[in-house]
């Protein structure tokens, strides 16, 4: 692994950690820190969005730092993840609307599915090309 890729991974990890921290503050802050102050909630949601944008750009820089085969692996993993999440997300939403499932559809289930799909496909493709 060359120095450029190591640097881009480190940058991506920092931005991702920062996004997670700002997400946690935006979610739990109104309950445990500022007790329902809407202005502070809006401020931290804005900060969360800004840091999220930074994470997206860090991810773009990371993918561009990879060589052509590793970029192909990322493209396939992200493409499959997008497809699976879209199809499962719509089906999940329809199941909620039509009362096929008893509980409300939660975005967290989709995020978990997205993460697991991406990691699984990445592992399979890395094994395939190793």
């Amino acid at each position: 692994m060359n120095a450029t890729i190591k640097h881009s991974i480190r940058q991506l990890a920092i931005w991702t950690a920062a996004w997670l921290v700002t997400t946690a503050i935006a979610v739990f802050g109104p309950t445990f820190i500022w007790e329902g102050n809407t202005a502070l909630s809006a401020l931290f949601i804005t900060i969360n969005l800004a840091v999220g944008a930074g994470m997206v750009f860090a991810n773009i820089r990371h993918v561009l730092s990879l060589d052509e085969m590793l970029q192909k692996i990322q493209l396939q993993a992200m493409g499959l993840t997008l497809g699976v999440t879209l199809i499962a997300g719509i089906a999940y939403s329809i199941a909620d609307i039509t009362d096929v499932i008893s509980q409300d559809a939660e975005i967290s289930f989709l995020i978990i599915l997205m993460g697991l799909t991406y990691l699984s496909v990445l592992a399979i493709l890395n094994k395939k090309y190793s």
């Binding site: 692994m1 060359n2 890729i5 990879l66 060589d67 052509e68 085969m69 590793l70 192909k72 890395n126 395939k128 090309y129 190793s130």
Partner: protein
């Protein structure tokens, strides 16, 4: 696609890591090309050809694909 990359690498006493560094790709990519699991793009194939001083068609052979 078949190729002679492994032979050429051995003839030049390069490790996969050496070759990866010269081609500015990962060692995983060099390994995948050598084992025929990944076909390089035209620019990378030209880079390989220039490095070993041979025409592309003497390194890569698409008859096996």
């Amino acid at each position: 696609m078949k190729n002679r990359l492994k032979v050429l690498r051995a003839e030049n006493d390069y490790t996969q890591a050496d070759l990866a560094e010269k081609l500015e790709v990962s060692r995983q990519t060099v390994n995948a090309i050598e084992t025929g699991k990944y076909d390089p793009s035209l620019p990378l194939a030209f880079k390989i050809a220039r490095l070993f001083g041979q025409p592309i068609e003497q390194i890569f052979d698409d008859e096996g694909s």
